[in-house]
Symmetry: C2
Subunit: 316 residues, 2 copies
DNA sequence: CTGTTAGCGCTTTCAG
DNA sequence: CTGAAAGCGCTAACAG
């Protein structure tokens, strides 16, 4: 493993000046085809790779995007991340992936790190408790995922629509006694908006709402199911697949196989354990694509921040 | 937001030469305390951050470590990653985290990317099918996790010991008819080694082995449990928590609450769904710490590659 | 202990 | 179309 080649080596090897090599590297159109060919041949032959650090230093752009997810081991966020990376890589950007673990402090540290690295932009999975005001510096090179914020670009899921979709589906099957197991409304999207979807359809259809709110985990689903279940209950719509897991477990224990359970998230494990549970896919991967495209549009073409929404889809 | 300050600005502002500022930045001891104070004051006052790209280019070291996990949304790998990041951050390194999805091709692409970035080192979560020969170039700045390889540094889990530990625990409780639900032996660690642990203890204790091998998912556990279960079965030891999930589900369905189920991985969801299932923690986080320390020892002090093992621990 | 002087590898004027 | 030259911000000899 010898010392890595530089642009100057390639220049000498192909008998041109180093600026010409640079031009070839940067797809500058005003290089004669013949010259370009020759240089490219030498580059390929020697497996030359231009130094990212040198280029970053010169252009003040490392072609690097920061991504802060809330949890790496979240199946849904992972789907979005894969979407993001697909578009990013395709456009020649690399990514630095980090995990906030829902901690504003950790997020701040990561932001500092990304600032030191001088990343070109940031995609941030927002969460309740995040201090969005600290993001002012990032405004024009930031896309939020999962939560909108005035003046900032964002890609959101259709939380309200997802629950509404599910509810309408159940109503179409003739069910009327449908309860909702949700999350306290401090959690804006998973909590407030999904509940809102439930309440909206109830109102529209003249149903009496019947719901309970708790935490984001299966334990909570289990407990709330116990509190909510009535003899006439026909279905329990849950704010997440994780909650649905707890609910389904409770129903199984008390022998209420007649009650339909639905979740949100299209989680593979849930489907295996309780195959009859229906779910809504919030369009995570699509959201990742959208976020990355929006971010690149902003940093490359100065596009204005805007608020996008990825469509939900029923999964049976 | 004005143009970022440079080392030269700080030099002028504090009335010293730029090399002195550089020395202060690099904790060079031969700077007079008084001077150091003055420079540091200016740095803090102006919130100056030295440019990573410039430093990387000069030192040919971006203080950046690549981490390739097989799946980001794997709870166990996530534990290791957190361990890795803790030590890395503490030692002033940043990380580029990527996901192989068990694909050798994806891994190659990631390796190329990391090479272009000129990262200082690499921590790679090995998997069956990975072409370890391609890693020759990385030899002295690479630590493998989960699989050893001659000549390469690695941190492994005690797969064999984990199953043996569990089996001995069950035997101590007086159980004798203990089956094993595993993974085909092409998967060296999760497959071969965990089975070996089972067989070893069976031989030592004069038990007749009774086992079945399949895939890594819950479906497989479910199917194999059906095949393996006998009237006299007292316990089913599983190669992973995921498999244990499938096994526990089958046992529940056929009403065999008397059979003890155990897994490996200390998975929170499993514990909730089937609280009685016991598990072994393979020491993932610890493995992360070890891997990062070993890697830094190699790249900073030229330590030789060596093969380490993180200890397993019973979790009830 | 500290300032001066060269570059690191690349992009970008500015002249040809 | 192409080359020469001037840096980007920082570190590392080398003299003081």
């Amino acid at each position: 493993m010898h010392k890595p080649l530089t642009i100057l080596d390639i220049a000498r090897l192909s008998g041109v000046g180093k600026s010409t090599v640079s031009r070839v590297l940067n797809q500058d159109p005003k290089v004669k085809d013949e010259t370009r060919e020759r240089v490219n041949a030498v580059i390929r032959e020697h497996g030359f790779e231009p130094s990212k650090s040198a280029r970053s230093m010169r252009t003040r752009s490392p072609r690097l995007i920061g991504i802060i997810v809330s949890r790496l081991d979240s199946a849904s966020e992972n789907r979005s991340v894969r979407g993001i990376l697909e578009t990013l890589y395709a456009r020649g950007y690399d990514a630095m992936l980090m995990e906030s673990e829902f901690s504003p402090d950790k997020t701040d540290e990561h932001l500092a790190l990304l600032a030191r690295r001088g990343v070109d932009g940031l995609i941030l999975f927002a969460f309740t408790g995040l201090d969005l005001d600290k993001l002012a510096d990032w405004r024009d090179r930031l896309v939020l995922i999962a939560r909108p914020w005035p003046g900032l670009a964002s890609v959101c899921h259709d939380d309200e629509g997802a629950i509404a979709l599910m509810l309408q589906h159940l109503l179409a099957q003739g069910l009327r006694h449908i309860g909702f197991v949700g999350v306290h409304a401090e959690d804006v999207t998973t909590g407030g908006q999904r509940l809102a979807g439930y309440l909206r359809v109830c109102t529209e259809q003249g149903l009496e709402p019947h719901y309970a709110l708790g935490e984001l985990d299966y334990q909570s689903g289990y407990q709330l199911a116990a509190r909510l279940l009535q003899p006439q209950t026909q279905a329990l719509v849950c704010a997440t697949d994780t909650i649905a897991l707890g609910v389904a477990k409770y129903l199984q224990e008390v022998g209420r196989a007649d009650v339909v359970v639905t979740g949100v998230g299209n989680n593979a494990l849930l489907r295996f354990l309780f195959p009859k549970v229906m779910s809504v896919d919030l369009g995570y991967k699509r959201a990742g694509h959208l976020a990355a495209e929006q971010l690149l549009a902003q940093i490359e073409s100065g596009a204005a921040p805007c608020q996008l929404q990825a469509p939900s889809q029923l999964v049976e």
